[in-house]
């Protein structure tokens, strides 16, 4: 098991290095080159010599490889995601307050997605091609085709501006765990984020369970007299859970992207809003720092999912993949 964990960890690390190579190289292409950050600090009237001096002071005239090494040391050695020249703050200073908020929002949505999506998928598979199945598939199709921001606004229109008058925005400016102390404000954002995720998860779960249901061991279970319920929950669901854990891990980027949209609509000060603000201000180090952080979160999620799979499935931890 330990060998599997280590191998998987090194793989994640390599992937992270490739991503960092990407986020490091990207600013080389910004319009104005070194002048863009230099002007932000020195003012737009700085002459060529001052700009070059400033670049030298900040280690910008080193060769590419040395600069990349410095970048790695900065991120892994000092846990520093970069420096925003626009705000003259370190990126971590700008976003540290907002990271837990986004995490709580995404985590809540993930929990509800699993609690709703998996049973729904199993139910659809067991009642294949009935009215219930068709209705659920239809709703999932529409939800999947709807831009998330539109869904959020329609939900606002239906449940906040009219009807039960739920709060249109979660409480901000309070502790990041406000989701527990004041859950009413979080109903709409979490519901919207959950709905889109459930749409894809239940569809995937339905397909997986259907595939499992035609396997030989299911026929054996039926033949030896298991009740349909027992076949479904004991034999089918257990074998369908493997792919589901993987797909949950892989859905993390979509979850974070969804959180970005939901935060923008419901005006919830989290990582997403900071990203959009930074993008509007053309604050490149901040945007790239947040992107790197989001990638690290995703990779950690995938890593955890794979470890869980390894615990559940001996084939995976020995061979490295399901046979």
């Amino acid at each position: 098991m330990l060998a599997y964990v280590i191998r998987r960890f090194i793989q994640s690390l390599i992937v992270l290095l490739i991503v960092m190579l990407f986020t490091f190289t990207l600013p080389y292409f910004q319009t104005g080159g070194i002048y863009a950050p230099a002007f932000a600090v020195l003012g737009t009237h700085a002459n060529h010599r001052t700009v070059l001096e400033w670049g030298a002071q900040n280690g910008m005239n080193h060769p590419y490889v040395i600069r990349f090494w410095n970048y790695l040391v900065q991120v892994f050695g000092h846990f520093n995601l970069g420096h925003s020249y626009k705000l003259n703050l370190s990126v971590w200073n700008i976003i540290s307050l907002y990271v837990p908020r986004t995490l709580w929002l995404a985590l809540a949505a993930l929990v509800f997605t699993v609690l709703i999506g998996i049973p729904l998928g199993i139910y659809q598979a067991s009642k294949r091609n009935t009215t219930v199945d068709y209705t659920a598939t239809g709703v999932a199709f529409v939800l999947y085709a709807m831009p998330l921001f539109l869904l959020c606004l329609l939900m606002l229109q239906a449940f906040s501006f009219s009807g039960p008058h739920l709060p249109a925005s979660p409480p901000t400016g309070v502790a990041p765990w406000a989701i527990f102390t004041d859950p009413i404000g979080f109903i709409l954002p979490v519901a919207c984020l959950t709905m889109v995720q459930v749409a894809s998860l239940s569809r995937f779960m339905r397909g997986t369970v259907l595939e499992v249901l035609v396997q030989d061991y299911i026929r054996t279970a039926r033949a030896k007299g298991c009740s349909p319920k027992r076949v479904l929950f004991r034999h089918a669901m257990r074998n369908a859970l493997g792919p589901i854990v993987t797909i949950l891990g892989l859905s993390l980027p979509a979850l974070l992207g969804g959180a970005l949209i939901v935060e923008s609509v419901f005006n919830y000060a989290g990582l997403g809003i900071q990203t959009v603000n930074a993008a509007t201000n053309v604050d490149i180090p901040t945007v790239l720092g947040i992107t790197l952080l989001a990638t690290i979160l995703t990779l950690s999620g995938n890593f955890l999912a794979d470890i869980m799979l390894g615990v559940v499935n001996p084939r995976i931890r020995i061979q490295g993949r399901a046979s």
């Binding site: 992937v15 990407f22 600013p27 974070l256 970005l260 993008a279 995703t298």
Partner: protein
């Protein structure tokens, strides 16, 4: 009696819904493969409806402006201009907050959304196919390295990546297409690679190798034609995804630049008016938009069923 002497029974066994031409089974006339596929596709009524709807919308967006003349370039700035006007004979779907005719605006924005979506989807599938095939077919170290690079890109949350790229590079319509195109192919490459891996192991590929065919020749003449079904299916979904991502960018204000517009930007502008009760600025467009994406996705699903060989055999 020989098997060929009982075409009807055999056809019923093989093909309970009567998809395969019975003559073909009997051996009199061989029904071409694409004809059989087409028949399975035509069997799916909802898929036909989806195709019909898409054709209708394409005609509406690209030919509509020929018949329904509206001014989509100049904002209504005059003091007596009509902003947010109710639907009337002059403006069939009212006007939006800038005074543009809403119906004409849907056509105008649709041209951009659909063109950009289709072109980006096209780039996605071309790059994804080439990458996946090369990776899967060459195998070994090359495959490992190419797949690790793919893993890296797949683990960057896509929306964050798009925002990073749009912050650094200056935006233009061409650039939008290229960025969505060259960042959307990663999942496609995975699927195509899986195909290439399978086909590599088949006898006809090995036979070709043993006769001295070059790798490029095999990719071109064997791997590509045999994975065309997956490529077409994946391409369909790519177009839908591209349209959706374009709308998300429009909402974030990073989409197409004014005076051009696309459906995402229009929905964003319309939703600002939602609490004022200006329903014509949001619901007609929202319906058209969602149905377009649903239709494309549904066609993708139907295509997958069409190419599923097991469906013919059962």
């Amino acid at each position: 009696m020989s098997v060929l002497g009982e075409p009807a029974i055999l056809a019923n066994l093989v093909d309970p819904v009567g998809i395969v031409d019975q003559k073909g089974v009997a051996g009199d006339v061989i029904v071409p493969m694409w004809r059989q596929r087409l028949r399975i596709f035509m069997h799916n009524k909802l898929a036909i409806a989806s195709v019909g709807y898409l054709v209708l919308i394409l005609l509406f967006c690209y030919l509509g402006p020929v018949f329904y003349h509206t001014n989509q370039t100049n904002q209504a700035l005059a003091l007596d201009a009509v902003w947010n006007a109710h639907p009337s004979a002059a403006h069939l779907l009212g006007t939006d907050s800038s005074g543009f005719d809403e119906l004409g605006r849907i056509m105008y924005g649709g041209e951009y959304s659909l063109t950009l979506g289709m072109l980006a989807g096209l780039i996605t599938i071309i790059v994804g196919t080439i990458y996946g095939m090369v990776s899967g077919f060459i195998g070994g170290v090359v495959d490992t390295v190419m797949m690790r690079i793919l893993d890296a890109f797949l683990s960057i949350p896509y929306l964050f990546l798009l925002i990073s790229l749009f912050t650094i590079f200056s935006r233009s319509t061409t650039f939008l297409i290229i960025i969505i195109g060259i960042t959307g192919w990663w999942a496609n490459a995975r699927i195509i690679r899986g195909d290439a891996l399978l086909i590599k192991k088949l006898e006809y590929t090995q036979a070709a190798t043993s006769m001295g065919a070059s790798k490029w020749h095999i990719i071109r003449r064997h791997v590509f034609p045999n994975s065309i079904s997956n490529i077409v299916t994946v391409a369909t979904f790519s177009v839908a995804d591209a349209i959706l991502f374009l709308s998300a960018l429009g909402f974030l204000g990073l989409g197409i630049l004014t005076p051009q517009t696309d459906w995402g930007t229009m929905l964003q502008n319309g939703t600002a008016q939602i609490s004022n009760g200006y329903w014509w600025e949001i619901y007609p467009l929202a319906t058209v938009f969602i149905l377009v994406v649903v239709a494309i996705n549904y066609i993708g699903d139907a295509l997958r069923d069409t190419f599923e060989v097991r469906l013919i055999e059962r």
